[in-house]
Symmetry: C2
Subunit: 199 residues, 2 copies
């Protein structure tokens, strides 16, 4: 199952806190695919979910309420939304250099932002999160040095292009055996399908 | 609690099948407010949820899946979407003439369309549903005669204007003690609040 999300998406964060236990219950492997939601939406010609002030106000309140409902630790970040290309590029660099550390890195970024309101936008902020990780990622300095490089940019561009081609149009977005599920709201339906209910 | 919906919204239909039992459990009274979703969205400058072919394809599949998940009887209508101003005007006319029959009429329209793929768009189709109702609505002919009148148009326009002013931007949309909940997905959170969890 592919799990697409943007590091700056609160519903993506909520899903990231739930999806591993869910997949483990049904013996499923998750492939984490951070994307830049604005780039995916732009490729489809779609507007962002929070561009309208009315929807933005609704969603800011809904973040709090949904976090409580789902039992996920959450604090509204001081700065929102933010750019996430450095965090996403770092993810794909780490996935190549030390695959086992990519998901722990994703959790560390998401929790730094959505629990502690820490900066995750700048290359220095991303490097700080890499340095704090346990087990330490020996290649932390290398990752930081490569964040602005063509390899990192190419990896993220490819991930975004694949998401667009797969029909992703939101965060979180799950693709289970070719079937799309959009939104943290769809975790219960995702579970029904994992449990063996036919399409 | 105000319950806003469009007769042509499948998620509005799903909610209509769940909301009465939910409200009854917590001693809540529901005020049903059919609206024309396209008019509400246009007033806010928002696009319709199914205007993009990618989202439309996703949602058509999601209707089936969500109906199964929620245990609601559903068959994809032959013609979708459709205009609903005659059904909505009839609702408000009936609400004035015979208040107890307005909600049964709403159920009859929703079920005719979402279970039996019957036409609910034309004045004649709306009149047929009124005629079929038990207990019979003596004023059925009157309702039909008034569907194109200024009173009916004014009632619906007023309902739409109030929905816009209340910040409604989708179907279903619930307003519980001034707190907005958007989507059939939010029924569980609506229940948490009705059960007494503070905001």
């Amino acid at each position: 199952m592919d799990f697409y999300f943007d590091f700056a998406s609160p519903y993506g964060y909520f899903a990231s806190e739930k999806i591993e236990a869910l997949a483990a219950r049904y013996g499923r492997v998750i492939r984490w695919r951070p994307i830049l939601l604005f780039a995916v939406l732009r490729a489809h010609g779609l507007a962002g979910p929070m561009e309208h002030p009315l929807k933005r106000a609704y969603m800011l309140a809904d973040f709090e309420r949904s976090a409580k409902f789902l039992g996920v630790q959450y604090r509204a970040p001081a700065s929102f939304p933010i750019v996430t290309q450095h965090a996403a590029r770092a993810f794909y660099l780490i996935e190549q250099a030390a695959p086992d550390l990519a998901v722990p890195f994703a959790h560390a970024v998401l929790r730094a932002y959505w629990r502690e309101s820490r900066d995750i936008a700048s290359p220095a902020a991303v490097a700080a999160i890499v340095s704090d990780m346990t087990p330490a990622l020996g290649a932390a300095e290398d990752v930081l040095a490569q964040l602005q490089g063509d390899v990192a940019k190419g990896l993220l561009t490819e991930a975004i292009n694949r998401a667009v081609a797969a029909g992703v149009f939101g965060s979180p977005f799950f693709m289970l055996d070719g079937e799309p599920f959009f939104g943290a709201d769809r975790l219960p339906q995702l579970e029904v399908r994992m449990a063996g209910s036919p399409r």
